[in-house]
């Protein structure tokens, strides 16, 4: 049985921008400081540090090491890194906290897509023999997934556009969002395809950004935060890699992760999904069994800001912040990795 007395007690994120002038570590320094300050924690008191980022974005092996400057690695600290979204770095820190010998952890996720060509770079995460040599880009796979959804009669292109309209409208209230505004479904449907049946707005923006989280357990969490966002359950599950070997119109790994995280189908005040392409929000809603009028992606979600390697951890922060501030009591955050929802993480959080 996993511990349920670990909580998010501090957080900070950069605004998401198309092209940040700062380096990745320069993006991280102020938000790591801000997250620790919010928790009232001195960085020398941090028991464990874990980061999520992608060396392929920077184009240099071990590029992630320089990000440690943001945590301050002297005197020596206990730290780790995942070549994954920061949500998985938080998972590692959450497991580490359960050892019981430390009671605080610092987690961050960061990504600068602007120096790279994301549509070419991300093909490198695929099977190196069957897929990567074809340059299969994320949007093409998402287009194949979207078509499968249409063919199965589970959605229409109008449904995709509706997701975008809502995301961009919600993003108007999010100062960190990159794409926001009022649009109509009909004007979006008049746009040309980029990966039919997907249009440009069905794809996430290309973003630079970073996010940091402070975790604490038990009494320490209560001392650091008036209303900690308790992590009631955290689980991640993965599906077969080859896109043609699974049903792309469902997300069995999300459903399983939610169940293992203890989500019982009860009411949620806020749900933040890493639906990087608009059809994926429909798939994830279905997998989680959330109501049609549920409060999904009030931040605007990844269609409004997609700082890769931070996007999933931002979802956790968006839920945690609402709990800490008191506007939500129970929420669910979702992160994804791999291609077309191959790997999914679910974090269930509650306030006292």
């Amino acid at each position: 049985m996993a511990a349920t007395d670990i909580a998010v007690v501090g957080y900070a994120q950069t605004p998401s921008t198309r092209r940040a002038r700062e380096s990745e570590v320069q993006l991280l320094v102020p938000i790591v400081t801000e997250a620790l300050q919010r928790a009232g924690l001195d960085r020398r008191e941090v028991g464990f540090t874990c980061a999520g980022s992608c060396d392929y974005l920077t184009g240099g092996p071990f590029a992630f090491v320089s990000n440690l400057e943001a945590a301050g690695a002297w005197p020596p600290i206990s730290e780790s890194h995942v070549e994954m979204d920061g949500a998985w770095a938080m998972y590692e820190a959450w497991v580490r906290l359960q050892h019981g010998d430390i009671d605080t952890a610092l987690v961050f996720g960061s990504g600068k897509s602007s120096p790279s060509k994301p549509e070419e770079m991300w093909a490198q995460q695929l099977d190196p023999y069957y897929l990567a040599p074809l340059g299969v880009d994320p949007a093409s796979l998402a287009g194949i997934q979207a078509r499968a959804l249409l063919d199965a009669g589970k959605a229409t292109e109008r449904d995709f556009a509706n997701v975008v309209v809502r995301s961009r409208r919600n993003a108007k209230d999010n100062p960190n969002a990159q794409v926001a505004g009022d649009f109509s479904v009909d004007e979006l449907l008049a746009e040309p395809y980029v990966r039919a049946p997907l249009r440009k707005h069905d794809l996430p923006p290309i973003s630079d950004g970073a996010v940091a989280v402070v975790l604490a357990r038990g009494d320490r969490a209560r001392a650091l935060c008036k209303r900690p966002a308790w992590i009631r359950g955290l689980d991640h599950r993965i599906e077969v890699h080859q896109p043609g070997m699974r049903d792309l119109t469902t997300s069995t790994s999300t459903a399983l992760a939610a169940r293992k995280a203890g989500y019982d189908g009860g009411p949620l005040d806020v749900i933040e999904l890493s639906s990087t392409f608009s059809p994926q929000e429909l798939i994830l809603r279905d997998a989680l069994g959330v109501d049609a009028d549920a409060n999904v992606n009030p931040s605007g979600g990844p269609l409004a800001a997609n700082p890769v390697m931070a996007t999933g951890l931002v979802r956790i922060v968006e839920v945690a912040r609402r709990i800490v501030e008191g506007s939500a009591s129970r929420g669910l955050a979702h992160a994804t990795g791999g291609q077309v929802l191959q790997h999914n993480l679910v974090c269930l959080m509650e306030g006292d």
């Binding site: 074809l134 299969v136 194949i144 080859q242 896109p243 043609g244």
Partner: protein, 145 residues
């Protein structure tokens, strides 16, 4: 204002790899214009073939020929190919299930126009003139004649 400093670096890992009994057999098959799948213990033929059944973890070794024609089970249209794509003109990326297979493989379909694409359409392989032991020895699929 001073000029930005430009640092150019090329990262390479110039080694060659032995592909093993399954991936190697598949790519060797493409040289001979044959598409190989692999049979699971439940009798399903996986294409492209994997060394292990992703659902059960069983080691697999029974290679079987599939195709040569196949059926498009889903697809997307790429109007502006990137330099990394297998074709330099508009094409479809598709899931193609070769005849006799239970799963689909991702590859390009050179249909010329989006109007010729549909789910369920029949396709045939087009072979690369000079094979080089890569997945694109099957250059792409094209509408079946």
């Amino acid at each position: 204002m001073s000029q930005p400093r430009i640092v150019e670096s090329t990262l390479e890992f110039p080694y060659s790899r032995t592909l093993g009994p399954v991936v190697g057999a598949f790519l060797s098959g493409l040289r001979e214009h044959r598409i190989l799948g692999i049979r699971t213990r439940a009798g399903k033929v996986l294409v492209p073939p994997l060394e292990y059944d992703p659902n059960t973890g069983d080691a697999l070794d029974e290679l079987v020929e599939v195709g040569p024609q196949g059926t498009v089970t889903s697809w997307t249209w790429v109007d502006e190919p990137t330099p990394k794509h297998p074709l330099d003109r508009p094409f479809a990326f598709a899931l193609v299930t070769p005849d006799g297979a239970a799963t689909a493989m991702v590859h390009a379909v050179d249909a010329g126009s989006i109007d010729r694409m549909s789910t369920g359409m029949r396709v045939q392989p087009r072979w690369r003139a000079e094979p080089h032991n890569m997945i694109d020895d099957l250059a792409c699929w094209e509408p079946a004649s």
